[in-house]
Subunit: 434 residues, 2 copies
């Protein structure tokens, strides 16, 4: 995409009312815009990051048999009253101007709605197991909404629900989800710990959280880096500096951001909504359920909290809004612009569109602006933080070359024009880290 | 996808409380589930249709320079009070349990929010034109929500907004959007008329609607089939049977469903939010805007209203949830199942996943169920309505063949197994219509 078409511009200063690092950097780069406390717009660059994360999630959920659908944001009170959750402060009420009583809450989770739907389609052991997910805007009436997109009143979430004949089958699937979640976070550039956490009222055992270590994190995790055992401090009896119960390692402590969680729900919801199945002997039993969440927008914020330097964001490759930032350094010699245009067309035959894009294409953000200086353009590129910067100037064109620099390196390399596509096919061969 | 993994089943009878054809057929096929009046879940099959429509819309919007983003559903009252729209009955109020006054409405349109955002990024004629869109869940407090997914309280919508230096530039873009909209509807299988409609309080001239003729439609359109001129009866002085003012044709009348609309907004919103630009002479002027909507879920409902027969839906190819329904007719000879499995793997190497799917693959719904009869399976296939049915039975396997039938034909053809992929590459050569 040509930067002139982008809608947003980078900001020299972060908005004065933002305190969280993720919010400051995302606002400066033109990724998000705060409409109200905890309520953000995802601007074109930010929306591309969200779509990259969604793609990763869909691939990993589909790989473990997940099937996607979409439930309503308007959750009828009949669902939440069944489990006594309509009254919870966490939910927003929704009502028309003439309504005395709110007919709906805004969904912050969908156990009730999906269990009611499932009772229409699941009646036999032959219908099980099933795994259903959605990626949806969700809502929580957060009192403190000061962490940027880490804790919003409106946020994007993937919620998966699974249905089983037995606890044994549930826990076998639980392990599959665990692996899929590790894949999701790894592809987003995050090293996560799988931490034991408290079992809520609605679960049959402890739950588990996926925690990414970061100073800003609201959770405290006790962990062993040797065997990677971890517990949330809320329930842990482990002591910092103590011995890990599973290995020879020592227990450390870190702040962490919860990017995902998995809950064994058991039969709480199936019993509330009469979701039963007939087993092989014809006996009726409640369906055993699990639920599994990933905060999509929180994940984006976590990546920024972990991947940034003083100049801006450093997007990991799979979630970067574009693969490369092609920068044209304005010149009186019109051949420089022509050569930059040509390189853009060569690299990005589909204009960087995420839809209808062919595998061979590279997604390029092309800084084609004629009225910015090289210094301004380099500063913008650092703020936006694409993994690769490709610079076309008078000086590089003289050598039929561009300067290619990775966002996390201090220096670039002069690469012949014909070798540029190779940078994207096998960048590690060209950019060997020392 | 294997039908055993699908979550839903077809229903013999439509739910008793549904009166609209689209709702009855979509519920019977397992495409949607009604949670409350006007509030639907999109089940896995229905969600695939929505994603197909979204893909078409994205491709056509991107082709006219549209850039995608996402705005919040929670629209702060500060935005809507600026244009005196917070009070409107059409909006739902959103508030926490302790709030006396609703801090938000649920967005039914986003002119205000986007104009406020744009004022941060647009300040010069060099920043114009711009075209920004989103595909989003929207909300209207509809008093009568009885038309299935044609008129919901919660619905999916694509809204595009454009920003220009002049009315002239706006109207030039307006024509581009018009062509893009015709492409969208045509790819969804709909023949639409471009009808003149009333200009609202917020527009600088008349608006235009894209109308698909259908008995159930709430609009009445006066039109000439010869030159395709059309007007909404609300503003029209044309008379049925009269002469068309533009050609020799006669004026006819039809009920129609409004699937899209385009509004020249002028400077109403830019003036309300101080969205100005400096022109080439350094003079400040308000930005000229347009807005353009497509009801995504309504479009899905319209397709069903137009494409169905007494047995179920007939999905047009580009919006069908799968390309083909592969049906295994249960047999004691285990080779039949093996051959069906093999054909499924051959046609659908990625399991019919919409994500990570390669171009060569065919999206197949595979009825692998062992405990249904041929008659039940054929009835299910008609209800679901995929464009192509491929049947593997003892009888066809004897001839190393399958029976292939198009949904809108009465009879199928016996096709050799090795020729099956060709049915999807060039079906018209194999299925010549008489």
């Amino acid at each position: 995409m040509r930067q002139s078409q982008l809608f947003t511009k980078t900001l020299k200063e972060a908005p004065a009312d933002e305190t969280a690092v993720n919010a400051k950097l995302l606002a400066r780069g033109g990724f998000v815009y705060k409409n109200s406390a905890g309520v953000y717009s995802y601007l074109p660059l930010g929306w591309r990051v969200i779509e990259k994360i969604n793609k990763i999630i869909r691939e990993e959920m589909n790989a473990i048999g997940g099937v996607e659908m979409l439930m309503p944001a308007l959750v009828d009170r009949k669902y939440l009253e069944q489990t006594d959750r309509f009254k919870l402060d966490v939910g927003f009420d929704v009502l028309g101007k003439k309504d005395k009583k709110a007919p709906y809450a805004l969904g912050w989770t969908h156990e009730e709605v999906l269990t009611a739907i499932a009772s229409k389609y699941i009646s036999s052991y032959k219908d099980l197991p099933k795994a259903i997910y959605q990626i949806q805007t969700k809502f929580r009436n957060e009192a403190r909404a000061k962490s940027g997109i880490l804790r919003g009143r409106e946020f994007l979430m993937k919620d998966l629900y699974s249905f089983h004949v037995s606890e044994e089958d549930l826990f076998a699937y639980y392990e599959k989800v665990k692996e899929a979640y590790f894949n999701v976070f790894k592809r987003c550039g995050l090293d996560t710990y799988y931490a034991l956490a408290s079992g809520g009222e609605f679960t049959i055992s402890n739950t588990h959280e996926f925690q990414a270590f970061a100073d800003v994190g609201e959770d405290t995790i006790l962990y062993c880096s040797q065997c990677r055992y971890a517990e949330n401090s809320e329930i842990s009896k482990l002591k910092e500096g103590g011995k890990c119960p599973n290995c020879e390692g020592n227990i450390s402590k870190s702040n962490a951001i919860e990017v995902g969680n998995i809950f064994p729900l058991g039969t709480k919801y199936s019993e509330a909504f009469g979701l039963e199945f007939q087993d092989e002997e014809g006996k009726k039993k409640p369906v055993v359920m699990g639920s599994y969440g990933i905060g999509v927008s929180r994940l984006m914020g976590t990546v920024v909290e972990i991947y940034h330097d003083k100049n801006g964001i450093l997007w990991p490759k799979e979630v970067a809004p574009f693969d490369a930032h092609l920068i044209y350094i304005p010149s009186r010699d019109s051949n420089v612009k022509k050569a930059a245009d040509k390189l853009y067309d060569l690299l990005s035959p589909y204009g960087g569109s995420l839809v209808g894009r062919q595998k061979e294409g590279v997604e390029v953000l092309y800084d084609d602006r004629a009225d910015s200086t090289a210094g301004e353009k380099f500063a913008d590129a650092d703020v936006i933080g694409l993994p690769m910067r490709v610079v076309m100037s008078e000086r590089t064109l003289e050598e039929d070359s561009v300067e290619v620099k990775e966002r996390d390196s201090d220096s670039g390399k002069i690469i012949k024009l014909e070798d540029v596509p190779k940078c994207f096919q096998n960048s590690s061969a060209i950019f060997q880290k020392t």
